[in-house]
Symmetry: D2
Subunit: 92 residues, 4 copies
């Protein structure tokens, strides 16, 4: 990255929560819970992951991308643009 200590702690604790949600999902499947509820839970995990992705993307823009664009190195800047377009394509 480099990512600040505060941001790193925030992101790892969010990932721990997501890990817990996945364990909850496994239990729901094992207990034969209603599909609709399981699908809602999968949707929650997707949203939580998207939100972590946004936080990391923002950090990435503020550090690596900004550096690449400011460096005056045109091919480094182009790579950053490609990367951002790639994120849009992945719907991250």
């Amino acid at each position: 990255m480099p990512i600040s200590d505060a941001d790193r702690d925030d992101i790892t604790s969010r990932l721990s929560r997501i890990e817990g949600q996945i364990q909850g999902l496994k239990r729901m499947v094992e207990e034969d819970r209603y599909c609709g509820d399981i699908l809602d839970q999968i949707h929650s995990v997707q949203q939580a992951l998207k939100s972590v992705g946004r936080a990391i993307t923002r950090n990435h823009l503020e550090t690596c991308v900004t550096e690449a664009i400011r460096s005056g190195d045109e091919s480094a800047a182009q790579e950053s643009y490609d990367e951002i377009i790639g994120l849009l394509e992945k719907e991250l």
Copy 2:
């Protein structure tokens, strides 16, 4: 659901793999790995979750939704349609 034993085992083992991927993500963040790589890994988890969601959705269509539509109970059928539209809206 009801979900078959084989499907349930498949889904829980996929969720265990996803759990492992989340743990891998935490390590990547803690080790300050390149953002682009972390974002790629988040994308992989999203795809894996979508794929689990599709498997559960298919099971749901084959069981609950089919039953609701065949029951002849119009309001049960309408609820199923709403649920499917809801899945589209959540981009599950």
Copy 3:
């Protein structure tokens, strides 16, 4: 389909509005308007198209899909499930 006359009129008038939005987009591009505004307008068209897609999907569920599932023909039902999963995959 078959689609009711009222629904058909609603959908064609929505498509006419979308056509107007596309013409507006062309003007914005020709007049060198701010990219951010153009992108917002593209997003509006996407939402309007999604909404038309949902209306057609709902009609499809209420007619063809229901018929296929009620027919008792297992392969017709399976095709309907495939089609719904396909819509999810296309994020329609």
Copy 4:
């Protein structure tokens, strides 16, 4: 923007093709064509619009965003980051 003449021509001709696709969609609805085919056509238009959105986004990154980040004006840079995150949120 500013957008180059070549890019502007490319984008407006793509938008004209999309306009034609929308007119085709209206005809399909009026002629009561199979829903599945109409939904496929809607999906094609969505993809074509996404592709126009990507082209405009790339131009935006190369011009406005690059300028904002290079200006040294921190709040202008932050606005650009917000805008990119906004594009991800809109799944443009």
